[in-house]
Symmetry: C2
Subunit: 337 residues, 2 copies
């Protein structure tokens, strides 16, 4: 089934909430308008992934928070907290547009985007998620796929895709890491043989806590400014990535669902979550970009933060422990496939 | 007793560790060299405050971590974790010097400092502390007092003081807040009648979480770039501030030492600590400046973070609750004295 055929099957009840652009408009235009196609796509995957995650829970369902932004657009934030399996899981979609102020333009220009020096008109839609499980033997996963259009004051138009997904375990399980990377590589390889190696390295470089000299996790893929060879091909690649979220992660959750854990392992998980917070608040460009966008919805942006995080002074795992093993791989990323 | 007479009484065993500059050198030069005087002063107050805090604990003592920095200087980090009264308390002094790279210069220039565009030679010494108690009815306190000298490439010399202290309660207790501000006002008023009103407002403005539109706490004082009318007077003011730490805070700790608390109050404390983390990692210039200084000792900088922090999606306290009352005062700072 082609990607557009998949979109044709989308029904309202497959989505988590009323679309921001009227559903009928999306269904009529997705073949010709990339904006509409992406909005429909992120809604479709939000529904699919939320429903899959809910299968793990006995009682909890995602709380659905639909919000509108006075500057233009809105989003649907789905969040689950204190579940049996998921301590905090958020899957957010947004469709926002309007004028980007100079601070936000600066965040983009720092990546080498050729934008004007002052405000630009923009449209952005994407899906963004972080899932923090209860059990310290189940890794945290993050994914984010997005589409951008800008028109600068001189009339110059740009459009591009960005995104990625990455795994943050508290304990290294090599076969899980290999599985995760393998599914991502397969998704990439369908589109370009250079995608996986390039985006895998980009991910390792991006999620780097410079002051600790460690990565946030065991990586995955990360890319930005994707517009070659054409938007159509880029979109197809993005769709494959979104489609890889469930097969890359869910088998790992299932495998460790019943793993027993100790108080010390839980404490280590909370220390690792402290590092996750550190990374997201100090370094992450996505978080910064979000905060500098006018009408920023801070609760949706900071949905990525764990329920509980811990900072112990000079916590250094002893050599020979599983905690130390993880730290080593965070300092020295490996090739997994 | 004059300030210099107080310094004359300093003995090695009143300090938490071996001074970075040899103790004898400090004792010979503090009358004429401001660098030496400040290094001795921050060591003296670190010892005095640590010992005072230890009186609250049955068994715990501060862990003393003396560190040297290969680029020049070092510090003494004193930390207590998991105490009966203090969940995490850090009191850090440092004496660092060398060359400030452009990124760090930029952090200073953004405050209006007239520095050159590239690197500058600098000397900095200060004491910095955050104390997070176990009991949610005892507020967190922060203080930081520092002295800076820079010499730009053109040979221009600058020297100034900065600092402040502020209170972050989880529950508003008006008389505690009044007490805290009153002690600070008295310390300020001895030096200049404009200090307290100016620095109180500066504190409210500085500790502002823009995206939440709330202050970190109920304020205190904050100032920077202080060099008028002369360094001698500024130093005397700083000494009075340091001397106000114990009388402003300790009576509040004593008062609430035996307060009972519920799980819900503890949870609210952790949510407020999440906001503390947010503020320090996203906004705080001191944290950013620290991170951008070469040879940054991340563990000493992030010592300010609580042991445990919590992020719940859209946690909004109900009207009429004590939690809501606190939030209101964070949104609308009041005059306390």
């Amino acid at each position: 089934m082609s990607v557009l055929d998949v979109l044709k099957t989308v029904k309202k009840d497959m989505l988590m909430g009323e679309t921001i652009t009227p559903f009928e408009e999306l269904m009529s235009n997705y073949e010709t308008s990339m904006k509409h196609r992406m909005e429909l796509t992120v809604g479709y995957f939000q529904g699919k992934i939320c429903k899959k995650m809910e299968e793990f829970e006995n009682q909890k369902k995602f709380l659905v928070d639909r919000w509108l932004r006075k500057e233009g657009g809105g989003g649907i934030t789905c969040i689950m907290q204190d579940g049996d399996v998921f301590e905090k899981a958020g899957i957010n979609i947004s469709v926002v547009y309007g004028v980007l102020p100079p601070e936000a333009v600066k965040q983009m220009k720092s990546r080498g985007k050729d934008l004007s020096d002052d405000s630009v008109n923009f449209f952005a839609t994407g899906v963004s998620s972080v899932i923090h499980p209860v059990n310290p033997h189940i890794p945290t996963v993050h994914f984010n796929y997005r589409y951008f259009e800008t028109v600068s004051s001189s009339g110059k138009e740009l459009a591009w895709f960005g995104g990625g997904q990455d795994l943050t375990p508290n304990y290294l399980v090599e076969e899980d890491t290999i599985h995760f990377h393998k599914v991502l590589k397969e998704a990439c390889d369908k589109h370009h043989s250079e995608h996986y190696p390039k985006f895998k390295k980009w991910c390792d470089d991006y999620f780097w806590n410079k002051f600790r000299d460690e990565r946030r996790g065991v990586g995955g893929i990360f890319f930005d400014d994707l517009d070659e060879p054409d938007l159509e091909s880029c979109y197809n690649f993005l769709f494959s990535c979104c489609d890889a979220v469930i097969p890359s992660y869910v088998p790992i959750v299932e495998k460790h669902l019943k793993d027993e854990y100790t108080d010390n392992e839980k404490r280590w998980q909370q220390i690792r979550r402290g590092r996750y917070v550190e990374y997201n608040l100090v370094y992450d460009r996505g978080t910064k970009f979000g905060l500098f966008t006018p009408g920023a919805r801070i609760e949706s942006i900071l949905m990525s933060l764990p329920l509980i995080a811990r900072w112990e002074y000079m916590h250094v795992p002893e050599e020979g422990t599983k905690e130390h093993e993880l730290q080593q791989v965070l300092k020295n990323p490996r090739d997994w496939v």
